[in-house]
């Protein structure tokens, strides 16, 4: 009969750059149970909505997360626009789509790097981040910010991208996508990666669905769900289908993200081809009155912004449910029964972003 011990894990951990603490109940090297606790970085950003003009809150909404920042602002603006019945110009919708996909590229490349790092594959980590740098450069050039783009506002977007610049961006992406393909092959084929990820942290399709997992975590288990398919911004006009893998293990989740990179490149190309000319914003008059659940697909999964306003300048309540929150129950289930050494890999495989989970 082996002894049970409890090992505290995190919030400071060499391979886990997220403030999450886990109490791991171990029997020898096996994890029997894992109890997560978060709560180290609560900032109370949702409360700030009561003090800010609703148009200025977009800056704060954007700073909920430092990685999916652009998509947070899209979620927030879309909520307000739908409450106020604002018709956003087509060009702005397309630009939002393009920047959203750029965010996805940068987030997934960041994650692939961190994931390689959690396996101890430093070289792959640096290679992913080198490609990511190019994406960030394109973002900085077009929006003015590397990670906090600040280019989405209620009623449209702040900056336009000229058509010639759009063409150049696509050309750059063509060059990059061959690099990305090479990178994906390493993640798909390399023995080291397969060894550390195949069969690790398995969660079945039924479990993933009933636990409310979202994004690549759900898609890696064969649940075909992608909020982009609801057709917000310009996604309704573009042709794509959710990337689904059926393994349910870390390898499958990694493969979903790797394949989504190529999908994003494809979506950007389609969007650039179809982008109409015209205005990029409309004037916003009055104040919002009503409520709306705005759902967007972030790199980590579905994100929900609930906005309730009563016709004043300040909104009554904004609630943000970030994808990481929804994935934590699934993570707890994955951790039960794994090996101690695999814990960092599994935790990273849901792409946790605790900072935005607590807001």
């Amino acid at each position: 009969m082996s002894r049970r011990i409890v090992v505290p894990f995190g919030p400071q951990h060499p391979v886990l750059p997220e403030p999450i603490h886990l109490d791991l109940v171990l029997e020898d090297e096996h994890v029997i149970e894992a109890i997560p606790s978060i709560g180290y970085v609560h900032r109370g950003l949702e409360k700030l909505v009561e003090k800010r003009d609703f148009k200025d809150f977009v800056y704060i909404a954007e700073r909920i997360c430092g990685i999916c920042s652009f998509i947070h602002s899209v979620g927030y603006c879309q909520g307000i626009e739908n409450i106020m019945d604002i018709e956003v110009p087509k060009r702005a919708q397309y630009l939002r789509t393009i920047w959203s996909e750029y965010s996805r590229l940068h987030s997934h490349l960041l994650w692939l790097g961190l994931f390689a790092d959690s396996m101890g594959f430093e070289n792959l980590f640096m290679n992913s981040w080198r490609i990511r740098e190019k994406i960030l450069d394109a973002m900085e050039e077009t929006t003015g910010g590397r990670v906090i783009q600040g280019s989405c506002k209620v009623g449209g977007v702040r900056r336009d991208i000229s058509d010639s610049k759009l063409k150049d961006m696509v050309k750059d992406l063509d060059i990059l996508s061959s690099d990305i393909e090479d990178l994906c092959h390493v993640f798909f084929d390399d023995d080291t990666v397969i060894h550390r990820t195949k069969g690790v942290g398995v969660i079945s399709k039924e479990a993933a669905y009933s636990l409310g997992a979202v994004g690549p975590t759900a898609r890696g288990s064969g649940v075909s769900t992608d909020i982009r398919k609801t057709g917000y911004v310009a996604y309704a006009d573009l042709d794509f289908s959710p990337v689904v893998e059926t393994g349910g293990d870390c390898y499958a989740r990694c493969a979903v993200r790797a394949r989504e990179l190529l999908q994003s490149v494809d979506i950007i190309k389609q969007a650039v081809d179809a982008v109409p000319s015209g205005d990029i914003d409309v004037k916003v008059k009055g104040n919002p009155d009503g409520e709306y659940f705005s759902r967007v697909e972030q790199p980590r999964g579905e994100c929900l912004h609930y906005i309730k306003a009563n016709g004043k300048k300040n909104i009554l309540r904004e609630r943000v449910r970030t994808p990481t929150t929804a994935n934590i129950p699934a993570l707890v289930k994955m951790l039960g029964g794994c090996e101690m050494a695999d814990v960092p890999v599994i935790v990273l495989s849901i792409d946790p972003c605790i900072g935005c989970a607590e807001r």
């Binding site: 800010r52 003009d53 200025d56 809150f57 800056y59 704060i60 700073r63 070289n123 792959l124 290679n127 080198r130 740098e133 450069d137 900085e140 050039e141 077009t142 929006t143 003015g144 910010g145 906090i148 600040g150 702040r158 900056r159 090479d182 990178l183 092959h185 390493v186 084929d189 390399d190 023995d191 080291t192 397969i194």
Partner: protein, 123 residues
């Protein structure tokens, strides 16, 4: 060649030279549209206070009676909100980041008269 799937990437990388910049020897990357710091043309300012009202991080304070416009560089998040709010278009965002400093706070004040109250260090 499963064990050597990195080889192609490695050879490609060898021919490419470093991907990093030797900062500060070489200047950092900068684009025309990069959001850097707020600059003010104080002569045009009417001290209406709209910029401070719209600043999400409360970085700007405007003192109307004595005509002083103050910005806390550490609080500023370069969001462009004040620039859009200003009715006189006297604010703009340049594309240079502030140099690193050892201790704060880093506030700069400008008064409505010809000279700035506290001489700013850049530009």
């Amino acid at each position: 060649m499963k064990l050597f799937s990195m080889t192609k990437t490695i050879f490609k990388t060898l021919g490419r030279g470093p991907s990093t910049i030797r900062y500060p020897k070489e200047p950092a990357k900068r684009y025309e549209g990069t959001r850097g710091q707020v600059e003010i043309k104080i002569e045009d300012c009417i001290f209406c206070g709209l910029c401070s009202m719209h600043c999400p991080s409360d970085a700007i304070t405007v003192d109307k009676p004595v005509k002083i416009w103050t910005i806390d560089r550490f609080r500023c998040i370069s969001c462009n909100s004040c620039v859009e709010a200003c009715p006189k278009n006297c604010l703009c965002l340049n594309n240079v980041y502030h140099e690193p400093v050892l201790n704060g706070p880093l506030t700069e004040s400008f008064t409505g008269s010809a000279e700035p109250a506290e001489v700013s260090s850049e530009n």
